[in-house]
Amino acid sequence: MQPLTEVVSRTVVLRERNIDTDQIIPARFLTTTQRKGLGRHAFNDWRSLADGSPDPEFPFNRAENIGARILVAGRNFGCGSSREHAPWALTDLGLRAVISAQIADIFRSNSLKNGLLPIVLDEAIVDELLEKPGVELRIDVARRTVTLPDGRQVQFPLDAFAQTCLLEGVDQLGYLLKQDRAISQFEQRRQHQEFRHAS
């Protein structure tokens, strides 16, 4: 994973609450065996009009939002399925951070493994950002701050381990593999407990 220290970008706004992973990437695009290329299907069913043509009003279809790296969304973003295709689709669109008043557990966990920073801020701050699409924000991962357009800095919670992984590009599987001795010891401790699955 590439290190992520800072995100400076204008925001794209989706005001809806409870945006679920079926909206982020509909299930019919999950037949892929690849991680890449899902961005073109992100929010697929919200992007087009009834006749199939692109909806010019949908935020990700608007020219000024191309290349934006920060999504601001209504409360409980990413609820629903465990599909990691959701953060894959968003990072494929170029996003590096999602800001919401609440972010669903599995989506948050999946995002952190893909260099997509899930940021939970107070509802009042998020509401301000939802009202004003396109403002420029600066996110500092080391200081865990978001700098708002008026210069205010607000803190966001970020697990210390997740922060280190982002800042240093730590590969979590590599970290786990280094714990092999502890895992083997655990397995030996439990060896007397019969493994109950018939072979």
Partner: protein
């Protein structure tokens, strides 16, 4: 010696900690049983290949085919009607990965194949006290046995394949105590839909739920699975029910459960898997079971629920207005009486034998309304065999519904089993998100009894009259009781 009283979750967690969490690092948690399917595993195996890694404990991972598989049988040339070549390639990829890495796969032709959360329990792979994970958010289902079971992403599927472990922060705990008796005609699906309506679609976020109380104790294992299955619909990664005699009776004799004396010894250890007196939960919610009515969703997330006899909300809330608009409701409209186009009985929530019996008890001797297309999709090959042995397939077909091969089918709608744009489906599945069952499809979540009653009525209706009265035999209907 005094020890701090522990919750069931604490006990499950503590028993699987390889290294405890610190401020700087999450715990390393050992995984007893890893279930995989074709959709969320290919990129994980690719990661192992890229690093030249083996599967650490192949005997602890079991694979099945369910999500993108057709529910229509193979043609005369033995070709399965996949929705596209990519879906076929995904199945082939899992088959090849399981062969190369030494993982057992419940493939086509295996009598054990089925939806991952139906197969694990019915084989007795799922057992109390285990940690169970799968790249699927409805892994919470297995919590019905007193196992810590939760959904993971594909990167984590790779972590488990390579190390049999996950990096985890300990969740908070939420006790949901449901006392009292469910009214006749009200079941586990109504109960969990009601619970999600009470605590909200994000009410369990950051928590592991333990379902407790006399109403939970009185549920069968299959009903308990329905309850735990939808924990994620309230935002909770895992839901738990402490094992008891109902659990032990269900597991005894299952092929992958311990046998004979080993089973009795296991039961003795499983009896300790309960929350100690005085253990603290981070949050507690109490619900009176006797107040629960047959319940359905009206909106576009599983927290937007209503009694089937009641009305959709009429307020000005923007999200509710958007949901009403998508679903085609007028503000304050009565739920009952809305015309139905499609009825789906199936999914990891409600495709077990008792669910199919419940639907069949409504369909027996009746006909599906002419405007309704109804699919009944058993959760596994075993459920299908048992249902056919009882004649449920005949009842379904005689009523004019389709009887299909096992799989996830119209719940996730990625195999070609679709609801059309603008159509209204009453579905026993778990998600009513926009487009979940097909682009533009409208989903009403319901119990198997309600779904079957809606199929017969051709409109949303209270199932109870259909459960208490049996129609007179009609000349066209064969009352089959094998």
């Amino acid at each position: 010696m005094t020890s701090q009283p522990k919750s069931l979750f604490d006990k499950l967690w503590d028993a699987h900690v390889v290294t405890p969490e610190t401020e700087g690092a999450p715990a390393i948690l050992y995984v007893d049983l890893h279930l995989i399917h074709e959709v969320t595993s290919p990129q994980a195996f690719a990661e192992l290949d890229a690093r030249g890694l083996p599967v650490r404990r192949p005997e602890r991972t079991k694979g099945t085919l369910d999500h993108s598989t057709p529910t229509l049988p193979a043609d005369a040339h033995g070709q399965l009607p996949y929705v596209n070549d990519e879906a076929r390639a995904q199945v082939d990829t899992l088959r090849a990965n399981c062969t190369r890495f030494g993982v057992e796969l419940f493939d086509y032709g295996s009598p054990q194949r089925g939806i991952v959360h139906v197969t694990g329990p019915e084989l007795g792979l799922t057992q109390p006290g285990q940690t169970i994970v799968c790249g699927d958010s409805h892994t919470a289902t297995h919590g019905a046995f007193g196992a810590l079971a939760f959904g993971i992403g594909t990167s984590e599927v790779g972590h488990v394949l390579a190390t049999q472990c996950l990096l985890q922060r300990k969740a908070r705990t939420l006790a949901i105590t449901i006392d009292g008796e469910l009214a006749p005609g009200v079941g586990a699906k109504d109960l969990i839909l009601h619970v999600i309506g009470v605590i909200g679609v994000n009410g369990g976020t950051g928590h592991v739920i333990e379902y407790r109380g006399s109403a939970i104790r009185s549920l069968s294992m299959e009903q308990r699975m329905t309850v735990c299955n939808m924990s994620i619909e309230a935002g909770a990664r895992a839901g738990l029910i402490a094992p008891d005699q109902v659990t032990f009776d269900y597991l005894r004799g299952r092929p992958r459960a311990p046998q004979g004396e080993a089973f009795d010894a296991a039961v003795e250890s499983w009896k300790a898997l309960r929350t100690d007196e005085g253990a603290r939960f981070d949050r507690e919610v109490r619900i009176d079971a006797s107040q629960i009515q047959p319940t359905v969703t009206w909106g576009t997330h599983p927290g937007q629920v209503v009694a089937v006899s009641a009305h959709v909300p009429g307020g000005n809330d923007a999200d509710e207005a958007k949901a009403r608009d998508y679903m085609g409701w007028d503000a304050g409209a009565a739920v009952a009486g809305r015309a139905v186009d499609v009825v789906f009985v199936g999914s990891c929530t409600n495709s077990r034998l008792s669910d199919l019996r419940e639907a069949a008890s409504v369909l027996r001797g009746r006909r599906v309304h002419p405007r309704v297309r109804m699919l009944v999709v058993p959760g596994s090959e075993q459920v299908k065999r048992e249902a056919e042995h009882e004649g449920i397939d005949r009842i379904v077909r005689d009523a004019g519904a389709e009887w299909r091969e096992p799989g996830c089918s119209m719940c996730i709608a990625m195999n070609g089993d679709l609801v059309g744009a603008g159509q209204l489906a009453v579905s026993t599945s778990n998600r009513n998100f926009e487009g979940r069952q097909g682009k533009g499809a409208r989903t009403v979540l319901a119990s198997p009894a309600t779904a079957a009653a809606c199929a017969v009525a051709g409109e949303i209706t209270d199932p109870r009259p259909y459960l208490t009265t049996q129609p007179a035999p009609q000349p066209s209907a064969q009352l089959e009781t094998v």
